[in-house]
Amino acid sequence: MVSRRKFLIGGACCAAGALGLPKISFASVPGDKRFVLIILRGGMDGLAAVPPFADRAYREVRGPLALPEPGRAGGALALDKFFGLHPALAPLAEMFRSGEMAVVHAAATPYRERSHFDGQDLLERGGGGANGAFDGWLNRALGLLTAEHKPVGLAIGQKIPLVLQGKEKVSSWAPQVLPEVETSFLQRVDYLYRDDVLLRTALLDGLRSENMMHEALGEGGPQASGLRPRIALQTAAAAAAAMLRADAGPRIAVFDSRGWDTHANQGAADGQLARQMRELGEAVATLKRELGAVWKNTAVITVTEFGRTAAVNGTRGTDHGTASASFIAGGAVAGGRVIADWPGLEKRKLYQGRDLAPTTDLRSLLKALCRDHLEIPERDIDKIVFPGSGGVRVLEGIIRS
């Protein structure tokens, strides 16, 4: 396996050494606020991450995906009397308790189709429809920050995500290793090769010899330990924190996480999705730990292009849905609550009879971040950052004043 690691990635702006600081100098944003956006690609199952355990229809609708009640083994961690948190997200539960984390639930962008590409596009462009902005909302927001020494934005990963693309120059940093191939991707390759004896045999032999087979194809068997270490998201979080913490460093960082498109063998308290969530929880914990004193001025938001179906599908997973949950965490957050206009999970309350219905526009959270944390004037937010969003109310009181 060692030979794989030598495929060097270009495009890094950092000095040698795993987490060296960029050589470009950055401006400081007024008030020294920091913002981290984590894009969860694939459609995170909000009902699994933040289960409404007290909703009467929860257990029936979710079937085998339902978590045990709070207090039971593998049960949800209670956030309040109605909502819980998936046990794998334990670090976030702690932040919730200390008032540093909040959830915005049953939220979605205006997008109502179910294509990943288009959904992520809309999520990152920040547009309300097909009026076609060609840049990302966060890049536009950057343009409205201090004009002195740019850039202040940092993309962590192999390339600059759409949300940061645009007129404003941003920097990028990538770890010098290949991104791991996720289990969900290998499942897709398996599907791709289903009719091809030659390739499928080679794939299965390859997986077997790398000990990944059980995980990838969801077959029963011992939990494989010593699998490919999931360092990718941790590395990004640690790098973001190191750079954001520096006096002369960037102020806004974006990185993404893949593998959330759990169509098959999603698992409930354990399994594929639980592993994803554990990684996410640890990444946010790493941000808090490594940002140190600066955490009190930081806000971290997770977004995803859409949620997933409320009911399980025929392959023990879920399909593309609509509303999901977003986390906002950080010392700058007025947390300790789940913000949701809860639509309910009875079948007639589900969107198109299948998905958690969206009752909040996700942009209301993002606008609150722009107005109250980044201190961008509201009229500029409505005109430039999220054009056409005049009708979307800013979520009040989510940022500590």
Binding site: S3, R4, K6, F7, L8, I9, G10, G11, R41, G42, G43, H116, F117, Q120, Q158, K159, I160, L162, L178, P179, V181, S184, F185, L186, R188, V189, Y191, L192, Y193, R194, D195, D196, L198, L199, A202, L203, D205, G206, L207, R208, S209, E210, R258, G259, W260, D261
Partner: protein
């Protein structure tokens, strides 16, 4: 058959993989290919590459420091040259509007394979493809054979440069002898083939004929060029495959021309060509037709490939040939162009197991699926395709890439898998990994 299908087959099976806007505009697929071969244009990225004489001069001119210093510097220089040449060749292949030419360069360079197995050969091997193989693509097979065998890279790689006729002036003086390596590989690999009906006597005879074929590397005027040294040449007549040859360079060249026209050569080359383009188990009819043209035209390569393109089996919509790592890399660069560095291209080929100039034997790199699809190799392909798709700076619509790369060759399952991908990067990785893209 649908015109669109043959255009895509032309670009993928005979070309090196369709670039955006390539397959859609091929009006006459066969003619498109034959025109490329007839013109045999040199890609512009290769026009400024240094000649062997220049390289040798530069290596010899390093005078600073002691012998070890010089050797180290020379090694570094040669390594840099090799990387540059290999990368230039890959870039030419990725960008060329005449991919059939580049495919044939790789094919013949692999047929007449040389490897950089020691520092000495490393100096000459990178230029071999460009100097010995490329100019003869549209000539006769005999011309190509002579060009390959006379190049210093081949003479050094297969030890002919030091082969001395035992009865020659040098042989009598030094008691050094014949090296059969080149002669055997010419008969076994390059021409007649292992079942071509030659015997050990023929190997020895050919080895004797080729003595004196060496490389000019000593003295003031050393420039790494071919040199015939009569002092090393075995005197007397030699009997090879039933014919008699006299002494000297011209007789040696005549012998090679005769070997090139031997009926077993026609059969061997025809099979190799059909196996490369059509299937690991090439259809007998196609082989027979190509063999017939080869014999009838004295090995006219343009006629030979015209016949290949006239075989029905050449245009079967069933994609039977698995892409080698090099083909996978190049077709990926063509389908989804990006600014990739020389180092990254070579690291990809290292990961995938096909490093330029490092074929493990004179047989060259294999062409068959079972050679390239072990379990580790499969995981490496997945890793390469996934990584390449992840680092493309501009997100391309995977369905658009699927369309321009494969068009009607893409099947339903692949289309579905790509459409359902969780992100654009994942979709693109699935295009590259699809059974239709992994083959041609």
């Amino acid at each position: 058959m649908a015109e669109r299908t043959t255009s895509y087959l032309a670009a993928n099976r005979f070309g090196l993989g369709a670039r955006p806007d390539e397959a859609a505009v091929i009006a006459e697929p066969k003619q498109w290919l034959l025109d490329q071969l007839r013109e045999n244009a040199l890609p512009s990225v290769l026009k400024k590459r240094p000649a062997t004489a220049t390289i040798v001069r530069e290596l010899r001119s390093g005078n600073s420091g002691n012998k070890n210093e010089r050797r180290r510097m020379a090694r570094r220089q040669m390594r840099a040259t090799a990387i540059d040449e290999a990368a230039a060749g890959l870039r030419a292949a990725a960008e060329t509007p005449a991919p059939f030419v580049e495919r044939l360069v790789f094919f013949w360079a692999n047929h007449f394979s040389v490897s950089a197995k020691n520092p000495f050969t490393t100096a000459f091997v990178p230029n071999y493809q460009r100097e010995a193989i490329r100019p003869k693509l549209n000539s006769r097979f005999a011309d190509l054979l002579l060009s390959a065998v006379s190049h210093p890279a081949m003479l050094l790689y297969l030890d002919n440069a030091q082969s001395i006729g035992p009865a020659s002036r040098a042989g009598r003086r030094r008691r050094r002898g014949l090296n059969e390596n080149l002669a055997r590989e010419i008969l076994e690999l390059h021409t007649l083939g292992v079942d071509g009906g030659y015997r050990q006597d023929d190997v020895i005879a050919l080895a004797g004929i080729l003595t004196g074929w060496t490389v000019n590397v000593r003295g003031e005027r050393a420039d790494g060029s071919f040199q015939f040294r009569s002092a090393m040449h075995e005197p007397g007549k030699k009997r090879l495959l039933g014919r008699v040859y006299g002494e000297g360079l011209a007789e040696g060249q005549r012998a090679l021309r005769d070997i090139a026209l031997h009926p077993a050569t026609a059969r061997h080359i025809a099979r190799k060509i059909a196996a490369h383009f059509i299937s690991d188990a090439p259809p007998k009819n196609a082989v027979a037709r190509i063999e017939k043209t080869f014999s009838a035209t004295g090995g006219d390569l343009q006629a030979v490939f015209r016949t290949l393109l006239e075989c029905e089996e050449s245009w079967s919509p069933k994609l039977q040939k698995l892409k080698t790592p090099q083909e996978l890399l190049i077709s990926t660069l063509r389908a989804a162009p990006s600014r990739i560095s020389s180092e990254q291209m070579l690291q990809a080929l290292t990961l995938l197991g096909q490093v330029p100039y490092q074929a493990p034997s004179p047989k060259g790199y294999p062409d068959t699926a079972d050679a390239w699809l072990g379990p580790e190799a499969m995981m490496n392909r997945i890793e390469f395709c996934h990584a390449y798709a992840s680092r493309l700076p501009v997100s391309r619509s995977p369905l658009a890439v699927l369309e321009h790369a494969l068009g009607p060759l893409a099947g339903k399952r692949t289309r579905t898998a790509v459409a359902r991908a969780a992100s654009a990067e994942e979709g693109l990785a699935l295009v590259l990994l699809s059974p239709e893209f992994q083959r041609r």
